[in-house]
Symmetry: C2
Subunit: 409 residues, 2 copies
Amino acid sequence: MTSPSASVTSRDSLAIGQRSLGDPSVRFPLWPPLTAGCPVTSTENVSYPVEVDYAYDEVPAGLFTGAAGQPRGHDRWAPLLPPLRAPGLGEGGTPLVPLGDGLWIKDESRNPTWSHKDRINRVTVSAAVGAGAEGVVVASSGNHGASAAAYAARAGLRCVVIGSTETPPAVEAFLRAYGAVVLSVPVDARWPLLRRIVERFGYHPVSNVTPTHTGHAFGPEGYKTLAYEIFTELGVPGAVFLPTGYGELLFGVWKGFAELVALGLADRVPRLYSCEPAAGGPLAAALRDGVPATRVPVGETAAYAIGSPVGGYRGVVAVRESGGAALLVSDAEMAAARAELAGSGLWAELSAAAGLAGYRQLGPAVEGPVVCVSTSSGFKDRDLLAGGRSTEVDPEDWAEVERRVGATA
Amino acid sequence: MTSPSASVTSRDSLAIGQRSLGDPSVRFPLWPPLTAGCPVTSTENVSYPVEVDYAYDEVPAGLFTGAAGQPRGHDRWAPLLPPLRAPGLGEGGTPLVPLGDGLWIKDESRNPTWSHKDRINRVTVSAAVGAGAEGVVVASSGNHGASAAAYAARAGLRCVVIGSTETPPAVEAFLRAYGAVVLSVPVDARWPLLRRIVERFGYHPVSNVTPTHTGHAFGPEGYKTLAYEIFTELGVPGAVFLPTGYGELLFGVWKGFAELVALGLADRVPRLYSCEPAAGGPLAAALRDGVPATRVPVGETAAYAIGSPVGGYRGVVAVRESGGAALLVSDAEMAAARAELAGSGLWAELSAAAGLAGYRQLGPAVEGPVVCVSTSSGFKDRDLLAGGRSTEVDPEDWAEVERRVGATA
């Protein structure tokens, strides 16, 4: 195991404490990180998340102006992140790929473990280091677990991933490569086992442990960097469409833009559109019913990364405060969006295409520029190998070659 | 198909012509791109490559100083690249991840199709667009074909990938997603079929067609950006270790640093170490025998991406002119390096770990800082699924959970 680089320090964080989303006047010190939501405002039915507060009046001049010599990725934004006590892997700094007509794809498959989850795990594994934990534990069948395993390996922490037999083959291969302990259990047993491992081994949980979703207090702060990056490259777009499971990504992007407004750098936030699988959609249901968070039954969907039965209050805040809307996209719409992305050279996971699927559903009436966040790479899909293998062609059979190439000499 | 972005133009290229590596006084106009090496100096036994020449005295001031507002990836370096007539996907701009003790990993798995090959294919597909071709054709069982397919899709060109039944499952899945025609044929039939498709359909070849390797005249120019990026971030390192198949990557990195010296921005080039699989090693053989290029038998190796029987003159130039050396690394050394990378949170393809394997072979006597280029992601390996699936654990069986976690409460 290598030691953290000297360039990774916590010296620049302006984080000053934690604050309840249930009641912003309810405040907590920065340490220890609250991993089970707000202990004051949460009820039996709704768990309220906690967020991080900063000394905004001390943000360095020039942080957002792209001066030469800025570090890259999360380290650039360290003042507006919780202390980065775990070494980085070059997370963030992903490209905005222009597809024409004012549409940009923020391609998060360029992260260290090829998904947006690296933005959150740099922060949560840093919290584990700061809290003195020997390991982290995460319930996940996909990107979140893989990312936690990578950051834990880099930081020299143990990592337990509580997955299921639904974990895609490629994801299991790289979890193992990172040295994580993978415990496959029935889906309903995942959260009780996670809580028990937290209690018995003192491992730091980097995924959710509450009845409605709260996740880790520090986690969504890592997603704010998406907003900062979009802002420094494009300014404030008209709309951002985001694949949505628990709403942490949505909240982080909203908070990042809201901070830019509070700092006087931007005059508005973009409209944020949550894009949930139509088979479920707890955020759309909560907004429709006017409740902070709810549960819904989830039908069949191949968008396993975002097919969540339970929502959280963060997503409600982001959609409501940004003037956006909650969209539901079918598997067919996501598959069409995935094909559109691949036809432009971007191979996305089905869930990752939910953002573009949402934009295509609303159509050109949406005021641009439009950014669709594509969260992850196609190799994470469960149906990776469903296409089978190609059959060999006889190179001497020119008629067959012409037929396959679809061209005539 | 979307139209190229307005930001992608050829207006900034300073390319003025092509020049033979066999005899630099043998020059050709810039168009058409020479796809079969130098027609003047090549012999029956040795094919000499061609490179691109530029109006170096017109390089804009500030190109290397990282001023704000620079475009990212290849577009930033357009003056020192052949005309970028195909739209980009945000290639390049990959992070240098510090592993401590002066060792940096240049993680090329952060490219659009998750390998270094995107640097070359932005350039070769641009050449195809510039040459007016309707399609490109490439012989490849891995990263090169996948990357060509993505850039062809983005540019609206057809793409034929001549692969084999050895193509890894994940690679075949994403070739199909990009809409490429995949023709699997016996390995020996690949190059004759490629030449025939070029002749009959007028498709532009973006892989090699000559007896010893020359590849595409414009291609390795795309790898120069690796040198530019390393230089702007670190200055000139002591040494760079590179996974080596045909030596195009090696040559591109060497040429990039040599240009920096010629421009008066750097005072030397780093020592470049080629890292070939010990099962083959045509570059090491050519350097040992004092010939421009040679063929060797190739034994068993799982490093399929670089297990080449034939070398080319470019690699000889790069190792000799940089004062480096040709290393041979065993599969066991690559596997150990791959495990070391994964233990630091970076999941690399076996071939991609050849650079670190070479550095570990030489040991700490190498003058640093040291950059090891990791060319691609672990999901491209043929043995992706060899580890099998994890078995389910009974969450109530706490003794078994403790045993697997390796910790005691």
